[in-house]
């Protein structure tokens, strides 16, 4: 693979990665959100595989493929299952849509743009240290971390919250890949396992919430305060 092609492919993957996060903010249908999340998983896997094949490190390619299976396959599958359980009775059609986010969609998109700018501003000194194509793409990872956090703060549905959390984690993984040219297998394995468990637990919690309150709007959970 020549250097030019590698750079273009890397930029494409990173662009898709960031775009998927922005689209998650844009769409209201939970099903669509899960779909774009899966797309982001594919982009992340492509990122890892590209980096691995460029440096001819096949363990990195393996890690990338594993990430792809987990984040584009297993996690979206789990979320879709939770979603179908929600919409099974059909009465609460509201439950499968993010009807009233705390910040509306237009403002969310603007904020995403600002957060991306912030990520680029913050990462500037880091990219100046060693300006390779990978480190130049580093702000994308940071931007996705911030956007994921933003989703967590502003979305009401429990499932949208799960997606926000996973966006955050995707962003962290991407940053790790871009900044360190490859995460050891054991570290990535541990992180992935954590994420999988977290999603399983959250899925159960979502189901319980729906049984207990009839809704998955987490703003109804107010018993946490002292």
């Amino acid at each position: 693979m020549t250097g030019g092609l590698f750079t273009q492919l890397l930029d494409l993957a990173c662009g898709a990665f960031l775009l998927a996060a922005v689209v998650v903010l844009w769409r209201r249908e939970l099903a669509a959100i899960v779909r774009y999340f899966a797309l982001q998983g594919v982009a992340l896997a492509a990122l890892a595989v590209l980096l691995g094949s460029h440096e001819a490190r096949w363990d990195l390619v393996g890690v990338g493929l594993g990430i792809g299976v987990l984040r584009a396959g297993v996690l979206p599958y789990l979320m879709r299952r939770a979603l179908s359980a929600l919409s099974a009775d059909g009465v609460h059609s509201e439950e499968v849509r993010e009807t009233q986010p705390l910040v509306n969609v237009a403002a969310s998109l603007l904020t995403a743009a600002l957060l991306t700018l912030l990520a680029y501003a913050v990462a500037r000194p880091l990219t100046e240290l060693d300006p390779t194509p990978a480190t130049r793409a580093l702000p994308v990872g940071l931007a996705v971390v911030l956007i994921g956090f933003f989703v967590l703060v502003t979305r009401r549905r429990a499932l949208a919250q799960v997606v926000g959390f996973l966006l955050l984690d995707n962003g962290i993984t991407a940053t790790a890949f871009l900044a360190t040219s490859g995460v050891p297998l054991i570290v990535e394995l541990g992180v992935s396992f954590d994420v999988l468990l977290a999603v399983l637990v959250l899925q159960i919690l979502t189901a319980r919430m729906r049984v207990a309150f009839g809704t998955t709007d987490i703003d109804d959970l107010r018993e946490l305060h002292d």
Binding site: L115, L118, V122, R124, F149, L152, R222, L224, H225
Partner: protein, 677 residues
């Protein structure tokens, strides 16, 4: 290998074994095993301290013990004095504690936690003066505070007030730690090193303003530990609520370390300072002395009385330390040495009699379950040995001959009176004033301890529990006996301590030079022409007393004696309710000091329903609350409470809001990074 490290290592090993024994052993074996091992810690510490007082020193570093800085240890004569005092108190109180905890059941002091914490706490009391770097000192200081806190809380199941006292103590001691940390960190940063050697060498390079700030911070922390105003509020709460052996350890060994820290940093490490430091210290000491003993005279809780008396005695010691620094600041170093000598001797004396007082109060409490003097009385016949020990210790506390407190207060007064030769207007005003304050506090102390002894132990019992009191078991009496012997030795032959005290004073950089000398039978002051021979004082007093008691008897034996009933004005035989109680005894004194104490009175008269002129019931209630505490602490507490209540609004319960705080924090941080780069 010299004696000091060996003795300290033995103490540490015994403390470890004691903690282990406290955790592992069952209740019956636990208390004697822990008691014996703790006594061993005390003996080890005492041996090391006496060796250091004898003139040998030791220094060592342990790089692996604390992270980053490592631990540093050094023992000189000044440290040796405090180690020896702490060791002796620990040894005697540990023996007493075996008897005390044995009858109490597996709760309170006999519990697994308390017994496991006791030996390490005793060890930290011995080891704090050994520390020779800021980090070592702070680590041991904090361990000591935590150990004492756990022990104060030992009886938390039995009384709710214990928990409240624990909260007060925890907050105040950590406030002190924060001040200490800030002060010593500032000092270490200025001096360019954190070992005491580096601090001593670099102290003169620190700018004067920083030195002043360091002294104020550190002095606040250390005077708080010593129980002096204004940060004294923990002491009258924690000392009464702790189990009595713990009160004795805290009041006789732990508060001393506040004085140690002050002498070590103020006189030794900072190398003395301008006059205003020491004038401030004398002011704090004088106020604490008078205010503490006034509160003690008003208290009807026996252990609260003793706790306030600790405040008073530490105030006197602070006057001595302050006078010493003041004389040194004006260049009169022999007089400074004498004042410090008096202060240190008073520390030793106070430890002896206060440990004994708390132990005696503890055996009263253990036997009757009462601390309220108003309900005690008549214990002299039921608990004769305890009463005798209490009397011996009270004699020391009132600072009258032949008590042991007399010698040190006499020395202190000598140094203050002869200090008038020192120039300066402030000195000319402050020294006579402090002489007056010491005299006043000694007078009120006499009233307070006459009350404690007379109302508590003489007269007739004023409650059933006081009437059915029993003498303490033999081990408690043995522990008190050791302390009583120490009191008597300090009262009769304080001259034996002369050389050791000189070396301790010399360790601060002041010339020892025999400020106090004389053989066993005499105390002679070399700087001033004054001498005192306690043995002769005691002998003269004994002869006078025997004459006063014996002559009337001899005279009376010749007369015919008729036993008849006392004329009672037709009122019937006097009942115990007619006797003086602690409250009524203190009442005249309280009237005199009405403006200072501002007691709260509450009179509630209920008339009979038929007639407003016939009274059915009168309820009278009076409370003497700690006025300084009210004025100083309550506004602060109220402000904190208001702030806390308004901060609760931040936590509304919405998950989104909590997440939003995190998000806003992160974005703010990144923005600051991006802009500030």
């Amino acid at each position: 290998m010299s004696v000091i490290p060996a003795a300290l290592a033995a103490a540490a090993v015994l403390a470890g074994a004691g903690a282990l024994a406290g955790i592992v052993l069952p209740y019956r074996l636990r208390i004697p095993a822990v008691g014996v091992l703790t006594a061993g810690v005390g003996v080890g510490g005492g041996t090391a301290g006496v060796a250091a007082l004898g003139g040998s020193g030791w220094a060592g570093t342990f790089p692996g013990v604390l992270p980053l800085a490592g631990a540093a240890a050094a023992v000189d004569a000044l440290a040796g004095l405090f180690i020896a005092v702490a060791g002796a108190v620990v040894a005697a109180v540990a023996v007493y504690g075996i008897g005390y905890a044995a009858g109490h059941g597996p709760h309170g002091l006999g519990s697994r936690t308390a017994q496991a914490v006791l030996p390490p706490f005793a060890l930290t009391l011995v080891l704090v003066p050994v520390a020779a770097s800021v980090s070592t000192f702070l680590a041991l200081w904090e361990l000591m505070a935590l150990g004492s806190l756990l022990l104060v809380l030992a009886e938390h199941r039995e009384r709710a007030s214990v928990r409240q006292a624990g909260v007060w103590y925890a907050v105040m001691t950590h406030l002190g730690l924060v001040l200490l940390l800030a002060g010593l960190a500032l000092f270490a940063a200025g001096a360019g090193g954190e070992t005491f050697t580096a601090l001593r060498a670099g102290a003169h390079t620190v700018p004067p303003a920083v030195r002043g700030l360091v002294f104020v911070l550190v002095a606040l922390a250390f005077t708080s530990k010593a129980g002096a105003l204004p940060l004294h509020a923990w002491l009258p709460r924690a000392h009464p609520e702790a189990p009595s052996p713990v009160s004795a350890l805290m009041s006789a060994a732990m508060v001393n370390l506040g004085i140690y820290g002050l002498v070590r940093t103020g006189l030794d490490l900072l190398g003395g300072g301008p006059a205003w430091w020491w004038l401030g210290l004398i002011a704090v000491g004088g106020t604490s002395a008078v205010y503490g003993i006034l509160q003690a005279a008003m208290a009807s809780d026996l252990k609260r009385l003793l706790a306030y008396s600790t405040s008073e005695n530490m105030g006197l010691v602070l006057i001595g330390v302050g006078a010493s620094g003041l004389f040194a600041a004006y260049g009169d170093r022999p007089l400074a040495a004498l004042a410090l000598c008096a202060a240190l001797l008073h520390v030793v004396n106070h430890s002896a009699f206060k440990a004994l007082l708390f132990c005696a109060a503890g055996s009263v409490l253990r036997s009757t379950g009462l601390r309220d003097l108003d309900r005690l009385g008549g214990l002299r016949s039921r608990m004769p040995v305890t009463a005798a020990f209490f009397a011996v210790a009270a004699l020391g506390a009132v600072a009258l001959p032949p008590g042991n407190g007399f010698i040190s207060e006499w020395l202190l007064l000598q140094s203050l009176i002869h200090g008038l030769a020192v120039p300066g207007v402030a000195v000319a005003v402050v020294l006579p004033l402090s002489v007056a304050l010491i005299a006043l506090s000694a007078g009120i102390a006499a009233a307070a301890f006459v009350k404690a002894l007379g109302v508590g132990f003489f007269a007739r019992p004023r409650s059933d529990r006081a009437a059915s009191a029993e003498e303490a078991p033999i081990l408690m009496l043995a522990g008190m006996g050791l302390l009583g012997a120490a009191c008597a030795a300090l009262a009769l032959v304080p001259g034996l301590l002369g050389g050791s005290l000189d070396r301790a004073v010399g360790a601060t950089g002041l010339p020892g030079g025999g400020a106090v000398s004389g053989g066993g039978l005499e105390v002679r002051l070399t700087g001033i022409s004054a001498a005192l021979s306690p043995v002769w004082v005691v002998a003269a007093l004994t002869v006078a007393l025997m004459a006063a008691v014996g002559l009337p008897r001899l005279y009376g034996r010749r007369r015919r004696r008729v036993n008849a009933r006392l004329w009672d004005c037709g009122g019937g035989a006097p009942t115990p309710r007619m006797a003086y109680t602690a409250t009524s005894f203190a009442e005249p004194l309280q009237r005199v000091f009405d403006d200072v104490l501002a007691p709260e009175q509450d009179l509630d008269v209920t008339p009979v329903r038929e007639s407003a002129y016939l009274v059915e019931r009168v309820r009278f209630q009076r409370r003497v609350s700690d006025r300084i505490e009210h004025r100083l602490y309550e506004p602060v507490l109220r402000a904190l409470n208001t702030a806390g209540q308004s901060a609760r609004r931040l936590a509304g319960g919405s998950v989104h809001r909590y997440l939003g705080y995190g998000f806003a924090g992160l974005v703010f941080l990144l923005l600051a990074l991006a802009v500030g780069w």
